[in-house]
Amino acid sequence: MSVMQHDLSLLDIEAIVIGASAGAIASLTQLLPPLGPDYPLPILVTVHVPPDQPSSIPSLLQAKCRVTIKEAEDKEFICPGTVYFAPPDYHVLVEKDRSLSLSNEEPVSYARPSIDVLFESAADVYGKTLLALILSGANHDGARGSRSVLKAGGIVLVQLPESAAARVMPEATLAACPDARAMSLSDINQLLASREPRES
């Protein structure tokens, strides 16, 4: 593990949110497949996808992953070891009872689903037990939401801009959030692995 993350612990983390747009698949394909089937944390993902066609990302990733991957359904309860993707044309929000809500309200930063909407609502519910990851992307969505995560006491990690297919989103978040840290995907992999259940 690199020096910079020694002080970082995911011990208190209860949920992970991820935001990405252009270049998302490459980054997620590195992050998600190593996770074991009993990974104890839920993962909520917003990727910018076109509004008028089904997204192929969940099935594409499910073929490579051991955690369960699905599209978020309205009012379903959040389960560990499950990755929930925001469906095309709907925002996903976290409710206090730790269920998910879909919303059709206006696009935010031209995006629906919007990363900011997911992150802000998740920060409100999970507070300091939330880990947010900003991956490759070509716009500023996620920067405001990342600020909310940090303000609530959570952790924000950003894919190293030079390693991202599109660096605008990581750079925008780093610029907006002095407390966000840039990290390589392999370092993030190691960090996520620290929460794998111990083999018995």
């Binding site: 309205d74 929000l93 809500s101 919303s103 802000e120 609502s121 409100d124």
Partner: protein, 279 residues
């Protein structure tokens, strides 16, 4: 005493705001999905220059002119004509043949907002030759949205999308037959709403008002929490005739609903349900 920190100040303010709204104006948002509601109300605070929900609540209680503005934040008004064309194609191809067997029809567009879906169905029913024997009910809690629905005037820039959706939905004619364009607006043929009753109706507090053959309520339930979703679908169940149809939004389902067993999945992909005949 030490303050109770199990609820954030904002969450307490939200609860009090919704109580104030209900006590003063009888608009009941208390069982709406809180995450989205909170987001939109904080946006209202930001845009209207209030430092907190408490401050906004004070103004709401003392100034009646705030209500319409706030309703536009509290209710989400996002729709397009023939939105999700597959839904309308499914109604045209699979639901209409059933509806043709009835001597007269009643259709409810619940949560009609500014009317895009009502006009879509009115056009579809005209194209399928059912308009003359159908009564439409278009309801919403937002008076300003209902007035827009009744006017049937939409920004001309939206017409390209409406036209594309109409064609994809299996529309038999050209959408341009149904509106006049002038001054940047498309004004829809008023005969399309000749058989429509526009009315204020709340799924949170009002009851069944007619016996219906088709209820279309799309992207409304997602703004409700589970108990209110149960109430709304219960209303639809009670209002529908046996074998009547219920259409909901592309990402909504009855899976977690208390009345799920009263319906069968008629066309699951398009989220069209049919009330069971043995009820």
């Amino acid at each position: 005493m030490t303050p109770d920190t199990t609820l954030s100040t904002e969450d307490i303010e939200l609860r009090l705001f919704l109580e104030a709204m209900y006590s003063r104006y009888h608009y009941d948002f208390r069982e709406y999905s809180k995450a989205s509601l909170k987001r939109r109300l904080l946006l209202a605070c930001e845009r209207m220059g209030f430092p907190s929900l408490s401050a906004l609540q004070g103004q709401l209680l003392h100034d009646d002119t705030m209500l319409p503005q706030l309703l536009s934040y509290l209710t989400v008004q996002v729709s397009d004509m023939f939105r999700d064309p597959g839904y309308f194609r499914a109604i045209r191809e699979h639901v209409i043949p059933h509806l043709k067997t009835y001597p007269s029809l009643k259709v409810w567009v619940a949560g009609c907002s500014s009317g895009e879906e009502l006009y879509s169905l009115a056009i579809l029913f005209r194209e399928e030759g059912l308009e003359e024997k159908t009564m439409f009910y278009a309801t919403d809690i937002n008076g300003a949205a209902l007035a827009k629905a009744e006017a049937g005037v939409y920004d001309l820039q939206r017409i390209a999308l409406f036209t594309r959706n109409h064609r994809l939905s299996g529309g038999t004619g050209s959408l341009s037959e149904y509106y006049n364009a002038a001054y940047g607006a498309a004004c829809f043929d008023k005969t399309l709403r000749r058989r429509t009753v526009f009315s204020d109706h709340s799924l949170a507090s009002d009851s069944v008002f007619a016996e219906l053959h088709l209820v279309s309520c799309r992207n409304v339930l997602i703004y409700f929490d589970r108990p209110l979703q149960d109430r709304a679908v219960g209303l639809f169940k009670d209002a529908l005739v046996r074998n009547g149809f219920l259409g909901i939004g592309a990402r909504e389902s009855l899976r977690f609903n208390a009345h799920a067993k009263a319906f069968r999945e008629f066309l699951p992909v398009e989220r069209i349900y049919q009330k069971r005949s043995d009820l």
